[in-house]
Symmetry: C2
Subunit: 342 residues, 2 copies
Amino acid sequence: MDEFSCRRRALFSGAPFSAAIFHNWDAANGHAASFAYFSGCGVDGAYLVLRKGGGVVFANEMNLRQAREGCAYPVKMLAHRREGAVKQLRKACGGGKVAFAPHEMSAARFLALRRKAGLRLFDASERIGNVRARKSESEVRKISAAARIAKKILSGLRPWDFATEAQLSAHLKARALAEGCEVSFEPIVATGKNSAKPHSEPSATRLGDFVLVDFGVKKWGYCSDFTRCYFRRRGMREEKAYLKCKSIYNELMDCLPECREGKDVARLAEKLMKRHDMPPLIHAIGHGIGMEVHEYPHLGAKSRDPLSGAALAIEPAAYYAGKFGVRYEGMAVRSKKGWKEI
Amino acid sequence: MDEFSCRRRALFSGAPFSAAIFHNWDAANGHAASFAYFSGCGVDGAYLVLRKGGGVVFANEMNLRQAREGCAYPVKMLAHRREGAVKQLRKACGGGKVAFAPHEMSAARFLALRRKAGLRLFDASERIGNVRARKSESEVRKISAAARIAKKILSGLRPWDFATEAQLSAHLKARALAEGCEVSFEPIVATGKNSAKPHSEPSATRLGDFVLVDFGVKKWGYCSDFTRCYFRRRGMREEKAYLKCKSIYNELMDCLPECREGKDVARLAEKLMKRHDMPPLIHAIGHGIGMEVHEYPHLGAKSRDPLSGAALAIEPAAYYAGKFGVRYEGMAVRSKKGWKEI
């Protein structure tokens, strides 16, 4: 069975719905990862309707030819008039419950599908997230490639060849491009006090003796995510805190086989942070990663998301408000043979 | 009055709602332009609540410091627990109708605000779109800068220094970075038959004698959008069709002062296309442009969107299925002195 049929089968296995609908953002600035995951297609403004036995993509006339390239399902033309389009979608979905991903659909689209097309929409976020969380071998290869490229760029990085945070950030983006990738998110480059903000935006601040870089690339549609800290001289207090994060990271990696669900990783991290005398985390210890930088499984204290087949980014960190922050981040995937750092 | 107060005042002037709420995408791949437009702030997962007399931003603890930089309103910490956050938002919004932008909010967020926070949400897309469409002088300066940079890159472009569509596209992105910009959308580079698809994706196809490039940059948060066709030799049929598009573009620019609403531009374009013996357009003749590549005013056949103060991209085109497509695209802004090409 091909990969897209496997994905569809996983989505419908024992599901309380008879169809699923996905829409690829009409907005200029975002694509719905699940749309691409289940269809292999990436054109704007298209719908994917899945049933147990197959699926269909509806695309605008203008994008019809583009949509057919690489698409796992037949592509039909979406009717020009709204009434016609509504009928097409209603017919394709049938009369039962229709799964959708509320985080990946705009409120405008949701309201149109419910009110105009009369669909009985069913929030299937968790099921969709968990299907996507279980990576196939080909997905692991793509994620590993993205990880390899990001690590190569970070390990060869000489931050002080650049004057400011913004210049270093632009360099990282150029390096990603030169490797035939996109960045998977806007690189975070934070020096001095700026590093105390976990999501600091690169500014015209001149690089001091300590720089935090959080960076990843997207290769073949899959993301990587790493954080490294750089020191111009030895023995800084920032370096000591950073090395503790690295130790915690390594201990956590060793203990991953003991974890079954997201919350197990969160608890383990809490224990390790305490043991190393670090302040409590102000963000999760990490996150699932794949076609999106942040996806299932969640690693929050209450998360019951299963870890089998997952790809994770793990990022122990410590922030000292108004002073500095440090973070070490790496990635691991879980295959049948167990966890493997990538 | 500062720019953000002007924007807020325009939003509430004669409005049928007493508050407005915006959320900046929690998704990794998109930011809500209206959130940034009304707040001056850009952190993930934050809410902006506006009332006639002022506003407030609620950000996660982790992003609090970052949110305060450049924000036009006080920033408060969003409660960790959902119940607390719901109370904060309900209180800030008051009991009346609350405007929102359904295209810029996920269905998940919409459902939470309506069901959990009990907000009486009101679709204010059109009003928000029309407020954003009317550009201030400082916005025109930013858009003009984005236009200038993109035109410079396109006019210096030597397509045949590169072997494939994908390589030329990567070069355009690198050039944007080198100019301290982002691309405003993934560049379209299409050679030969690929150009017949308006949204062709750059591939490993080797560049032939004819290349279409649709490209823009984002500078200081504002977008540009241009299309140029390049020919390795003179007298190709593609060049003839391209020159017709360019003529239509120029005639359209001359006639813009006669247009009051979006539909006037659409009708004018239709007339000109016919007069030049070109096939009917399969997409709109153009679009408003600003913080997003596509925004108000719409230029569809039924659009009543006013053009005063607008920034437009105009793109006459002709597509011959399976053969080739050509497009010429430029930009214009309308100030008190009238239309000006940029």
